[in-house]
């Protein structure tokens, strides 16, 4: 066995770690501004960040084979929790999402963001690829169970992200284009059914997305104010701590889901280009790790998690810039909030584990 690098010994991928750290720092800086220069908010976020980073490093120590072994159990455990939520969950913002574990409140749907791609990758890893039709159906069922449970809470945003995570793995596994097109067609046909099943507020969000100016003070308010924030920022931005849209509280959810609008207002197009470069760097590193993973499970999971990471970014930015309906998706690694941060970091921990536990035969 050849001499191991420091990263390999610590099981940390330094490029990835560096990218994540830059984003987290950007996040703290913007949170300070968006939260009305409240240092407490920044401290609290920093603590969550540290916990999440420690979590990432711990997970990175696990050999991928171990992670694969856990996949099925974790998946089942998640499903059970989701069912428990239906009966015992705490209600918040018109949805039942949380389990009160006394010490902290836990959102089982967050767990599914990781365990679904793990399960799919685990299931497909020892099958021949591209997967046959029956297996694709099996994977669809694996994905559909948690997605439907989450959608029922209702938490459409997370449900879509969980579905995206599962299908990312399926896509990487080489699912045929024909199948994708059929699924796309089915989805389009199923849209009216979905509409029928949606809650009022969800319908309103979709309608508002289609025409935000219809209801500028009600449901369209988020989007309109967010666009004003971004547009008024201009190319160079209004400068840090100078965003009027956020400081005067026109912008809702400014340290969480709409933090990107605050960022755009204060740092402008220039800032956007910078932050997109960092995101692209992380994504390309993740995909590089995926390609270079030593087994199929590692390849599928690393690329699936990386793609999911991008989906987060895209959905959040699309929502904030008024191109997608308002769904509660935070900007990964930047938005304030502990739960999504921990989930993401664990995801990166898995990616690092896949990369740093590679064994090289020495000839």
């Amino acid at each position: 066995m050849e001499e191991q690098s420091l990263g390999q010994r610590l099981h940390i991928d330094f490029p990835l770690f560096f990218g994540i750290l830059v984003l987290c720092i950007i996040g703290l800086v913007v949170i300070y501004s968006a939260g009305g220069q409240d240092m407490n908010l920044v401290y609290r976020q920093a603590v969550k960040l540290l916990i999440a980073l420690v979590g990432m490093i711990i997970i990175a120590q696990l050999p991928p084979a171990e992670i694969a072994r856990w996949s099925f159990g974790l998946y089942l455990f998640g499903i059970v929790l989701l069912i428990l939520v239906i009966f015992y969950g705490d209600v918040g913002k018109g949805a039942q999402r949380w389990l009160d574990l006394k010490i902290f409140r836990f959102q089982p749907s967050e767990l599914m963001k990781l365990s679904v791609p793990m399960m799919v990758a685990f299931y497909l890893a020892d099958k021949s690829l591209p997967p046959r039709f029956t297996r694709v159906i099996a994977v669809c069922v694996l994905i559909a169970i948690p997605v439907l449970l989450i959608a029922k809470q209702p938490d459409l945003g997370t449900a879509l992200l969980v579905a995206a995570a599962g299908f990312s793995v399926l896509f990487i596994a080489g699912i045929s284009w024909r199948f994708l097109i059929i699924m796309g067609g089915l989805g389009a046909a199923g849209a009216p059914v979905l509409w029928y099943l949606m809650h009022d507020y969800q319908k309103r969000r979709v309608l508002t997305f289609l025409n935000p100016e219809n209801d500028p003070l009600g449901a369209g308010y988020h989007t309109i104010q967010s666009k004003i924030a971004i547009g008024s920022g201009g190319f160079y931005g209004k400068g840090w701590l100078n965003g009027t849209q956020s400081h005067l509280e026109f912008l809702p959810e400014r340290s969480t889901d709409f933090i990107f609008a605050v960022f755009c207002e204060e740092f402008g197009m220039l800032g956007v280009l910078f932050i997109l470069c960092i995101y692209l760097f992380i994504i390309s590193r993740g995909l590089y790790i995926a390609i270079n993973a030593q087994d199929t499970f590692g390849q599928l999971l690393a690329s699936g998690l990386t793609l999911t990471f991008f989906v987060y970014i895209f959905v959040n930015m699309g929502m904030v810039t008024g191109q997608l309906p308002v769904v509660g998706v935070p900007l990964p690694l930047v938005s304030h909030g502990g739960t999504s941060m921990v989930t993401l970091m664990i995801g990166f921990g898995i990616i690092m584990a896949i990369h740093t536990h590679r064994r090289f035969l020495s000839f």
Binding site: K127, G231, T244, M269, G318
Partner: protein, 620 residues
């Protein structure tokens, strides 16, 4: 079915996965390009649009209402002021349970059900962080009581403000009027930007007619607000220009005498300076409390005022229409002289009644046994009706109408408050148009003694008296002599307005009539001789007794038999001193009986005061 074995082809699968990863990367790049172009569109192409939106989001212009000018009497007493008031303001946003808070507050200050109702209505209209008054006009005790308990009521506070207050209340309500909350009608005619922060507007009297001066000009401040509309900081400020102070011509002490004289009576008293038109006294009785109107009178009190048979809401001075009665006689006399119908010494025989040739109807004199031989002097002094029946008959309606009109009868006086009535000086044309009938000679006769169709307002009578005192020089009555800047105290005197002068063919005619009027009070047998007794100065007057109901031919007017509201109106016009008149007066006491008995003594009292305090009064 045989179990199918598929060997995993690691190399093949790796390249399949790699291919898919590259495809993904390509899609990701495309989507990121999409995001970038969207951001480019918003931040660069649409930057100006959103910049404007962002600015209008945060910068609001709020008006600063000017402080309303004060109103002073001639002697410098404040008549309308801006009184600091304290109200209990509630910010709904900061209160968890409003009903509970109100219940607790009720234990400290009295809060009526109507207060709560008004408050709840306002809560729905205003924004959550705005301070909404729950109770207005707290007294000092309540303010103190609340201050002690304040810690128990977060979100509730005592709010200071300015409230228009009329310290003399009903004494001057018909002169000053009042301000009240701006209503929809006001909004239609006022300059909206100048009134953007103003809540009250002059509704009546001086407050209304001098509104533009009293109000001042609005100031503005540019403020930065947050999404809830709360003011974060002031960016720019233009101070408001406070309204001008107004100085009335009203002499309070004289006003008070007139008010006391009309205590518990209906009537009107006007006194003016014939030299410049300054209205010294302006009383319409009864009055009412204007302070009740400032923040909206409750409908019960208002209906009470409306329904009162004393009609306190009518401004009798300018809106009361009364038969002038014998007060027209001096003017009729002048018209007779000027038209050459009579000379001063021409006599009529008064047997106690007058009949038109070929008619049975007897037009009675107030003195049953008659005045005997009567010339103009005696006719005015003793108020002989028959003389003026004859005179009127000889003059005819056209010349009477023309002559009386010159003295302003049937015309508005042009005083500087609104709502004035023209009353009525009848003419042939008027009767044809209004009643559709020809003029009858009998109507001319009774016009000669101020009965029939003729109606005057007390102010018209006062203006005509002043004209007489001025020997034809007509001056427009006015209530405001000057304004002053409320910051610099710089006084701006307003000019008095002279109108046309009545020139008679002989100046002696004036003296003939004025001498007769002097003898009404100072001569032996003058109708108001009691009122002239022992006066240290000479004054001239004319009594009047106006019939409210017609008395049948065979009946006599017996006061005891007639209900109060049908009793005669008592009138008196006068001016003093005769030699150089400085005050002219018109008094009407509704259902007061005879002018000599009821009205003339009031004039004497006022003259006495005026003449004894001439320095004080002319100071102005």
């Amino acid at each position: 079915m045989a179990k199918e074995f598929t060997l995993k082809d690691q190399d093949h699968e790796s390249s399949l996965i790699a291919r898919r990863v590259y495809i993904s990367a390509f899609i990701i790049l495309m989507l990121i390009t999409m995001i970038i172009s969207r951001i480019f569109y918003l931040t660069v192409l649409q930057h100006d649009h959103y910049s404007t939106l962002s600015k209008s989001n945060r910068v609001k212009i709020t008006p600063i209402p000017p402080i309303r000018g004060l109103i002073y009497s001639r002697d410098g007493v404040i008549l309308a002021e801006n009184k600091p008031t304290f109200s209990l303001g509630v910010i709904p946003e900061q209160i968890e349970d409003i009903d509970e808070t109100i219940a607790q507050l009720k234990k400290i200050v009295s809060i009526e059900e109507s207060d709560v109702e008004r408050f709840k209505k306002a809560v729905k209209k205003k924004r959550r962080f705005e301070n909404i008054p729950l109770r207005l006009n707290l007294d000092k005790e309540e303010v103190a009581l609340f201050a002690v308990n304040r810690h128990r009521f977060p979100g509730v506070d005592v709010v200071a403000g300015l409230n228009r207050y009329y310290p003399l209340g009903k004494k001057l309500v018909h002169t000053i009027g009042y301000v009240a909350r701006i209503d929809d009608d006001d909004v239609k005619r006022l300059d909206e930007s100048n009134y953007s922060g103003t809540t009250h507007i002059g509704k009546l009297g001086i407050e209304k007619s001098y509104e533009s001066l009293l109000h001042g000009n609005v100031g503005h401040q540019q403020v930065e607000v947050n999404a809830q509309g709360r003011v974060i900081r002031v960016l720019d400020r233009t101070a408001p220009k406070p309204g001008e102070n107004i100085h009335l011509t009203i002499d309070l002490s004289l006003q008070q005498i007139a008010i006391d004289a009309l205590e518990n009576r209906r009537g009107a008293i006007v006194a003016m300076d014939p030299r410049n038109g300054d209205v010294l006294t302006f009383v319409s009785s009864p009055g009412y409390d204007p302070n009740k109107f400032v923040n909206g009178i409750d409908s019960k009190s208002y209906n009470l005022l409306l329904a009162s048979k004393d009609k306190p809401l009518i401004n009798r001075v300018i809106q009361g229409k009364y038969p002038p009665g014998s007060t027209v006689k001096p003017f009729m006399g002048l018209i007779g002289l000027e038209n050459g119908v009579r000379v001063n010494s021409d006599e009529s025989w008064c047997p106690g009644w007058f009949s038109l040739k070929g008619h049975e109807h007897r037009y009675r004199d107030w003195k049953k046994q008659g005045h005997g031989h009567t010339d103009l002097h005696k006719a005015i002094m003793q108020s002989c009706d028959v003389y003026f029946y004859t005179l009127a008959y000889e003059l005819g309606i056209d010349r009477i109408f023309q002559g009386m009109s010159r003295f302003g009868f049937g015309q508005i006086t042009g005083i500087d408050i609104g709502g004035e009535k023209k009353a009525l000086m009848p003419s042939r044309e008027w009767k044809r148009e209004a009643i559709g009938q020809a003029w009858y000679p009998g109507e001319t006769l009774i016009l000669g003694i101020g009965q029939g169709y003729a109606l005057v307002t007390p102010l018209q009578l006062a203006k005509a008296t002043a004209t007489l005192a001025n020997k034809g020089h007509i001056i427009r009555p006015r209530l405001v002599s000057s304004t002053s800047n409320s910051i610099t105290n710089e006084v701006n005197a307003l000019p008095s307005h002279s109108e046309n002068k009545i020139t008679l063919s002989s100046g002696a005619y004036w003296d003939d009539v004025i001498t007769s009027m002097k003898d009404v009070v100072h001569g032996i047998g003058g109708t108001a001789w009691r009122s002239g007794l022992n006066a240290e100065y000479n004054f001239a007057g004319k009594t009047g007794t106006a019939q409210v109901i017609g008395i049948a031919q065979d009946k006599e007017y017996k006061k005891e038999e007639i209900a109060e509201e049908f009793q005669d109106h008592a009138l008196f016009i006068a001016f003093a001193p005769v030699e150089a008149p400085r005050i002219a007066i018109a008094i009407i006491v509704e259902n007061g009986g005879g002018g000599s008995k009821t009205a003339a003594p009031i004039a004497r009292k006022m003259f006495d005061h005026f003449m004894n305090n001439r320095d004080l009064i002319s100071k102005g």
